[in-house]
């Protein structure tokens, strides 16, 4: 198993939380994992980019044209960080408009901002997009994601143990995204 995923957004959206969740899922499934994060001043509302590498790697960073997938919590992330994607790689984007499908490099779009408002969790855009990604990548892409919705739930249950309300909200957000498929 070797997978490289780029996660992009802006400070405050929870890019690091999603990255950590996926990394914990990788460990739970017995894989080695490397992530690289943005801290410090850039986090204050600026562009935040995480790299996630599952499997045997020695570098924490993904080279351009090497990533298997991209999660963009802001629509602009696709243009900004699409250069990391290798040919035929998938991208999941939080944006209002539909995306014209290019069968070679599938781009899946979901209006996670709107879904977040609908479930009264305005700050859950990150988990909605993650749930959406799991759903869409596992059904529409040949090279499936290294983890499933159940794996992520299991990680959440462990990391949010004892915080019933937060756990419930997180799982609702994840499932909302998972069921909110639109493009297929």
């Amino acid at each position: 198993m070797k997978q490289q995923i780029v996660i992009s957004g802006v400070g405050g959206q929870g890019v690091l939380f999603v990255t950590r969740l996926l990394a914990e899922a990788a460990i739970m499934k017995g894989f080695s994992v490397f992530t690289s994060e943005t801290h410090g001043m850039a986090q204050r509302g600026g562009t935040v980019l995480s790299h996630l590498k599952v499997g045997n790697f020695s570098s924490p960073l993904i080279r351009p044209a090497n990533a298997d997938g991209l999660l963009a919590l802001k629509a602009g992330g696709l243009n900004q960080h699409g250069l990391y994607l290798k040919p035929h790689a998938w991208a999941a984007v939080n944006r209002r408009e539909d995306v014209v499908q290019d069968s070679e490099s599938p781009v899946f779009a979901v209006d996670a901002d709107e879904l977040a408002q609908r479930i009264h969790q305005p700050k859950s855009v990150n988990l909605i997009l993650l749930g959406f990604t799991i759903g869409v990548v596992s059904t529409a892409v040949e090279n499936r994601l290294f983890c499933s919705l159940e794996d992520l739930k299991a990680v959440l249950e462990k990391s949010l143990a004892g915080k019933k309300k937060m756990l419930g909200d997180a799982i609702t957000a994840l499932e909302t995204g998972y069921n909110g498929l639109r493009t297929i």
């Binding site: 992530t35 690289s36 410090g40 020695s58 570098s59 924490p60 080279r63």
Partner: protein, 612 residues
């Protein structure tokens, strides 16, 4: 068996300190080093062993506290960011001569890029200058392992040892198998030896001789010798890598099918470089490429300049981070391969900004109102982002806002109409390096206003407590030092406190301060409102959130967006209307006083007015 854990590089370093019996750990926060001490404090809480862990007022103080611990035979460590080591360099240079008793590790985290620093300086050069050995980890796991090596090396040669991680090590996460936390209580014993611990220049000469001898021996120390990574490869060319660039290079060499072709060595201890290794490389290879961050430290220790390619020959860029794509290009060229063309991203992304509702924003807006043609020296912290509001003219280094303000005053003082000078400095930065400069300004009768942006925390690095908070690294209650008393103690006669959320009162206070300063010298205004994202803060915020709305009178002039720059204020240019983002807005209500046309109003109030 304990399961593998996802660990931040800085957590791995902290665990390494714990596992190797470090008894005193000190630091001053700074990206990318901040989480080292925070993690150490968290582990300490779990283990509840009698260790001393603390945030110090600055890096020099932190260094000296930990160093004295080592003088008593305890294992000790101090951590900081690279520019923090500049502040502690006085202590470092001298401590190298005097040496240590218990193992003493100086962790200085570099920031090639730079991502969150004012320079890209290489701490390994500082180790070289101080004449102490330095270890250069490639990953969180290796950083943790190197802590053990560093303590051993330090105790074997009675010398401070530097561990130099970079941002990509500190802020990478990796699955790591935690080891056992060792606790071997040591006997605390300070051996009085004035010829050593209080050495006069004459004795320093002998200590310097002894230091050189130590370095000679360390350049042959087997445990830190360079590693041959690919034993099978054979060529007239070879590659030397170190730090995180080694991590990149290993992957790239395999991807380019060069792993079995070009011999590759990883240097663990860039200074002093092992002498046998230098001879071996020069005797064996015709061409050697060195890939390291940020300065060519390994490179400059390899004799025979004709064979070496690196920073000095221009084969490796001297500026900026060695991203894996850059390393790939360098190795491809060295191996005679066609370099891959990489499209650089053209989108600059979103610039960082102060949080919606940040009290600093209100203070900056008020400063521009009170001294519209002023000079605004500022300092290091979140508030550097006052740049976006045009309320920050200079940022040099910690504490410089105060001394630069004095410099501007002295430069302009004989002009007919000298400009007003309003400097800004954060609470933690004021404690760190602002106090001596303020004393100097009082003595020299410097006409300027110092606004201390007191948000009761060290915000940018992750909300570590300041001396005014009265909490320790693990949240334990300690004494506190109040800023007002400190300012008055410096001799300042005008010192007032105001919450910048009270915008009009704050502006008029600043105007008074400016007026006072023109006649009498330094005036200090403490802008006090707690940081909105301070997780340490337990008490409820005193401020009642105000629901703001933009009325139809808004003509989209853009004044608020340009001059107040709150991310919750969004200008819809087509509709010529500003909207409020309800997710981002925290209800500070300051923008009500910002709009020149009074189009931003409190929700309830607007209604009551309209029904009148």
């Amino acid at each position: 068996m304990i399961k593998r854990k996802l660990m931040l590089g800085n957590e791995a370093i902290a665990l390494g300190l714990m596992e190797n019996g470090c008894t005193m750990a000190t630091s001053y926060p700074g990206t990318p080093a901040s989480e080292i001490l925070a993690s150490f404090a968290a582990l300490q809480k779990e283990e509840s062993m009698p260790r001393h862990v603390q945030w110090a007022v600055n890096e020099k103080v932190a260094f000296e506290i930990a160093y004295a611990g080592s003088m008593t035979g305890l294992r000790a460590a101090v951590s900081m960011k690279q520019v923090g080591l500049n502040v502690a360099s006085d202590s470092l240079m001298s401590a190298a001569y005097l040496g240590v008793t218990g193992g003493f590790v100086v962790i200085s985290a570099d920031d090639p890029g730079p991502h969150s620093s004012q320079t890209e300086q290489d701490s390994r050069l500082m180790a070289m200058m101080a004449k102490i050995p330095v270890l250069d980890p490639d990953s969180p796991l290796q950083a943790k392992e190197m802590v053990a090596t560093a303590f051993e090396l330090s105790e074997t040669f009675e010398i401070p040892v530097m561990l130099r991680p970079t941002t990509r090590v500190c802020h990478a996460r990796q699955d790591i198998q935690p080891g056992k936390i060792q606790w071997h209580p040591r006997e605390i014993d300070f051996q009085k030896d004035p010829a050593r611990w209080a050495a006069t220049p004459k004795f320093r000469f002998h200590l310097h001789q002894a230091l050189e001898k130590k370095l000679d021996a360390i350049a042959g120390y087997p445990k830190t010798a360079p590693i041959r990574l690919n034993a099978g490869a054979n060529a007239s060319k070879a590659l030397i890598v170190s730090g995180v660039a080694a991590g990149h290079a290993k992957e790239i060499m395999k991807d380019l099918n060069l792993w079995d072709r070009i011999p590759m060595y990883q240097v663990l201890q860039p200074f002093p470089l092992h002498k046998d290794f230098v001879s071996h490389m020069i005797d064996t290879y015709d061409e050697i490429l060195v890939v390291e961050e940020t300065t060519g430290i390994i490179e400059m220790q390899l004799a025979d300049r004709h064979r070496i390619k690196g920073k000095l020959t221009g084969s490796v860029p001297r500026v900026g981070e060695l991203l894996p794509e850059t390393v790939q290009k360098i190795i491809s060229e060295f191996a005679g391969l066609e370099p891959v063309k990489i499209d650089a991203g053209s989108d600059p992304g979103v610039r960082p900004t102060l949080c919606a509702g940040c009290p600093h924003r209100a203070a900056f807006f008020a400063i521009k109102k009170a001294a519209p043609k002023g000079i605004y020296p500022s300092d290091i912290g979140c508030y550097t982002l006052g740049l976006n509001l045009g309320a920050v003219d200079t940022v040099l280094c910690m504490g410089a806002a105060v001394s630069q303000a004095a410099g501007f005053y002295h430069a302009f003082k004989n002009e007919k109409k000298p400009p007003d000078i309003v400097a800004t400095i954060g609470d933690s930065t004021f404690f760190h390096a602002g106090v001596p400069a303020l004393i100097d300004a009082v003595v020299q009768k410097v006409s300027f206003v110092l606004v201390i942006l007191d948000n009761r925390t060290t915000a940018m690095t992750g909300n570590q407590p300041t001396p005014a908070v009265g909490l320790g690294a693990g949240g334990e209650p300690l004494n506190s030092v109040e800023i007002e008393a400190l300012v008055e103690g410096c001799g300042v006669k005008f010192c007032r406190v105001q919450d910048p959320y009270n915008l009009n009162e704050f502006i008029s206070l600043l105007k008074d301060a400016v007026k006072y300063s023109r006649e009498h010298g330094p005036a200090v205004v403490i802008s006090r409102h707690p940081c909105l994202i301070d997780r340490l803060r337990k008490e409820k915020p005193a401020h009642r959130p105000i629901q703001v709305q933009v009325s139809d009178e808004c003509d989209g002039c853009g004044f608020c967006v340009n001059h107040f720059e709150c991310p919750a204020l969004v200008l819809d240019e087509e509709a010529e209307q500003v909207n409020i983002d309800p997710i981002l807005c925290n209800g500070c209500g300051v923008c009500i006083g910002v709009c020149p046309k009074n189009s931003i109003k409190e929700k309830g109030k607007d209604r009551s007015e309209s029904t009148k």
